[in-house]
């Protein structure tokens, strides 16, 4: 009986890692999961040559070769930790039984223990799949290069060391998130639910920031000199663990492996305690108390956003973004990527070489110019993506029924909202930074270019957006995750090129006027194109994402003869 219950619950929980209600009526869960797996395998495909090249480069210089190989190893471990960490935060709701689980399953003769073990097994499976797919290619190919010496036994040892380390690193970060979640569950349930969303957001920012800001090393001396700093960076602990398991550990770095084991023990212990707390306290509390205590006081006023329909759409969207945890987390994910890219760009070796002290930031520099673009773009693209994710899709009937909800007015509302929620805050943050750092004229010129760039990106992102934010069901399969890295590389290349041109233009009035003119014209053209696309449609706002047809008809009939109307 218990075994059958366990199997049924396990399968149910495993397929609920992703929120089913987000999907369109025609949405296919297996397709969405397949897409996630595809994304991870694609990442693995990209990581393999990057890490492979690094690990095999310049074997003539033994020390340099070893450092490159170590860099590759650390990069792979840190990337796994980041991916698992993001997965842990994204599946925050799924890791512990929620109110729905308790209310649906409590009347059935199921032990709380069975429920918890099924949940744990489902989470463990999802975690294993994440680590395995992300390392599917790197884990098969790179241990050959990572072996301490030639010979089959050393390759086997490197292979084992690689997979043990990656799973241990993934387990550590996942358990760490669980442990913190478990600690927070000691708070009253409503307080936990409120703090929970902030914890989730905090983890996101922390993980992305740590990933991009962890101290790099290019020489052995760097590594040894930074030993004190490395004590606090978990990816280096597991790098030390890999060296230990692979039989290549330097005595000076042995403490890293010890830290890894200690950290893993503490995190798994914390996670076990979290589940115990859930088993003993939370399950009962979930049934007894409402999920969210009503908040009677608070700021209810919001400014108008145009006519009454546009104001209704905008207020609804702002409230959704403020109150929906899943949407906030998704937005934070994009902001985290933007912040990470900005930090990464502004910490390039070129900047390090030029900026020996913090005072040099006060001089105009291309990396800082370049870093403002990803911040702006991530805010806009993230907000636009979040607009596409519905909340309570079945409740959108109220919008469907409303008179006068045409594309033009809805597009205008979405545009104002996108500008107010993403472009304006990102621009203001940049303005504060640049006016503080640089002379006002240079700062103002760059901010003018940045505003035009933001408008261009916002208008591009709204092209064919014929929806009311948060109301249209989502159909997985249209997002080309697999192209994300290509787009990212292209974006970085174009941004660097544009930053160099802008750098040259900022000191030259005529050149600056031309540069600004080009960007403003592009923004105006993008806006015209987006508005024109809205007018050319049949005026219907979309509430259901429809799949692209498998077969595109050409409306030709009778053996190629076009029908006459």
């Amino acid at each position: 009986m218990t075994r059958i219950q366990f199997r049924v619950l396990y399968r149910e929980f495993l397929f609920r890692v992703v929120d089913l209600e987000v999907l369109a009526p025609d949405g296919d869960m297996s397709k969405l999961l397949g897409q996630f797996a595809g994304l991870l395998i694609f990442c693995s495909l990209w990581l393999t040559p990057i890490a492979g090249l690094a690990s095999t480069a310049d074997q003539r210089n033994r020390l340099l070769g070893m450092m490159l190989m170590w860099t590759a190893q650390h990069f792979l471990i840190a990337t796994t930790m980041l991916a698992v960490g993001l997965f842990a935060v994204m599946s925050w709701e799924s890791t512990f039984p929620d109110r729905r689980d308790v209310l649906v399953l409590s009347p059935l003769p199921i032990r709380a223990r069975t429920l918890l073990f099924a949940k744990l097994a489902a989470v463990a499976t999802a975690l294993s799949i994440t680590v395995s797919t992300l390392n599917s290619l790197t884990g098969l190919l790179l241990p050959f290069g990572f072996a301490s010496r030639g010979g089959a036994m050393h390759v086997v040892r490197a292979f084992g060391a690689y997979w043990i380390t990656q799973f241990a690193a993934g387990l550590f970060i996942f358990c760490l998130v669980l442990a913190v979640q478990g600690l927070a569950q000691l708070l009253p349930r409503q307080a936990f639910l409120r703090i929970s969303s902030w914890l989730q957001t905090g983890f996101f920012v922390l993980m992305v920031t740590v990933y991009f800001l962890q101290p790099p090393f290019t020489e052995l001396q760097d590594l040894l000199a930074n030993a004190r700093a490395l004590r606090w960076v978990p990816s280096y602990w597991f790098f030390g663990l890999f060296q230990q398991l692979n039989g290549l550990a330097l005595p000076q770095l042995a403490f890293l492996a010890h830290r890894a084991w200690a950290g893993l023990s503490i995190a798994t212990g914390g996670a076990a305690a979290a589940y115990l707390i859930c088993y003993l306290r939370t399950l009962r509390r979930i049934a007894e108390q409402p999920d969210i205590l009503p908040r009677r006081r608070g700021l209810h006023w919001l400014p108008p956003f145009g006519d009454s329909l546009q104001t209704a759409v905008a207020h609804f969207s702002v409230r959704t973004l403020l109150r929906s945890r899943s949407h906030r987390v998704m937005l934070t994910f994009y902001l985290g990527i933007g912040l990470g890219l900005a930090l990464y760009i502004s910490h390039t070796p070129e900047v390090y070489e030029r900026a020996s002290s913090f005072g040099d930031w006060y001089r105009l520099n291309a990396p800082l110019l370049m870093a403002s673009a990803p911040t702006m773009c991530a805010a806009i693209v993230g907000t636009r993506v979040v607009f596409s994710m519905p909340l309570d899709a079945r409740a959108n009937w109220i919008f469907r029924m409303m008179p006068g909800a045409d594309i033009t007015r809805c597009l205008a509302a979405s545009r104002r909202l996108l500008y107010a929620l993403s472009l304006a805050p990102a621009w203001l943050a940049c303005a504060a930074l640049f006016f503080w750092l640089w002379p006002w004229r240079i700062a103002a010129e760059h901010l003018a270019v940045l505003a035009a760039l933001g408008t261009f990106v916002a208008e591009l992102s709204l092209f064919h957006f014929h929806k009311i934010p948060f109301t249209c069901s989502y159909l997985p399969g249209k997002t080309r995750f697999n192209m994300a890295l290509v787009y990212l590389a292209l974006f970085l290349f174009v941004t660097q090129w544009a930053a160099d041109r802008e750098m040259a233009a900022l000191g030259d009035s005529a050149l600056f006027a031309i540069t600004l003119g080009v960007v403003v014209t592009s923004a105006a053209l993008a806006r015209w194109r987006t508005s024109a696309a809205g007018h050319s449609e049949n005026g219907q706002v979309h509430f259901d994402e429809t799949p692209d047809p498998a077969v595109i008809t050409l409306d030709l009939h009778q053996d190629g003869v076009t029908t006459m109307q």
Partner: protein, 254 residues
């Protein structure tokens, strides 16, 4: 007057509504009855314009609703069968949003919302998220949203679902009052006793087709049956209910 002329709706070959024709007149509440799956809610959605008909015409006050769907929607209020609401909004925020979406003037709408919340006993909970509301409270929010713009046509799909006894009594009187004040009221319900008390005219649907369309009084005389429940059983219930319940009990206890 609301009029359906030979309205048909097919879903990928399955006929949900098959040539339905009836009229719902001003000044009377029309009951729309039928067993589960008979096509009641589909008809309601067709009348609201949420889904498109396959064939036939839907007219309101002599005009095809498709001629000016926007103007028609301004005159219609709808309470759906399932209380799907944006649960992250408070009751007040939801009603304000509906008012804005309908383009209603701000100040009088705010006063009307305040009055509706008070009369539906939701005043104390107006700043509470709908996620914390009971089913009856959600139903009251839906009703308030449907009545907010003083519609000429009121479509109520199972409006008594989840309401307590006092609210049912209020709702019953409200439907009669609205009809008496010249509104077109069409409401579907499984509560035949209430329909019998509230409606003067009923339309009974079975397997997507209209099997009765008349006043309750005339149906009683024509079919020589004393209650609407018996008329409904005769026209729309195919199974021998007593035999069926015996079979279920036998199966469970075997």
């Amino acid at each position: 007057m609301l009029e359906l002329r030979n309205v048909t709706k097919r879903f990928t070959g399955i006929v949900a509504v098959d040539g339905v024709s009836f009229q719902a007149r001003r000044g009377e509440a029309t009951g729309y009855l039928g067993p589960n799956g008979s096509g009641k809610s589909t008809t309601m959605k067709l009348i609201t314009g949420l889904i498109n008909r396959t064939s036939g015409e839907i007219m309101f006050d002599g005009e095809r609703i498709q001629n000016d769907l926007t103007a028609y929607k301004q005159r219609m209020g709808y309470v759906p069968e399932e209380p799907y609401l944006y649960q992250h909004l408070t009751g007040l925020e939801y009603l304000v949003m509906v008012g804005q979406l309908r383009g209603l003037p701000m100040k009088p709408t705010a006063e009307r919302i305040d009055g509706l919340l008070r009369l539906f006993s939701l005043g104390d909970d107006q700043h509470v998220p709908i996620s914390s509301y009971s089913k009856g409270m959600r139903q009251k929010v839906l009703l308030s949203a449907a009545l907010l713009h003083n519609p000429d046509l009121i479509l109520l799909d199972e409006p008594f679902s989840g309401l307590d006894v006092a609210s049912v009594l209020v709702m019953r009187s409200l439907i009669q009052e609205l009809a008496a004040r010249g509104k077109v009221v069409l409401f579907s319900s499984h509560e035949l006793e209430i329909v019998e008390r509230v409606c003067s005219h009923v339309v009974i649907l079975h397997r997507g087709k209209v099997v009765a369309d008349d006043s309750i009084q005339r149906l009683r005389i024509l079919m020589a049956l004393p209650t609407l429940e018996e008329i409904f059983s005769q026209l729309a219930v195919e199974q021998d209910t007593a035999a069926m319940s015996r079979a279920i009990a036998d199966l469970v206890m075997a």
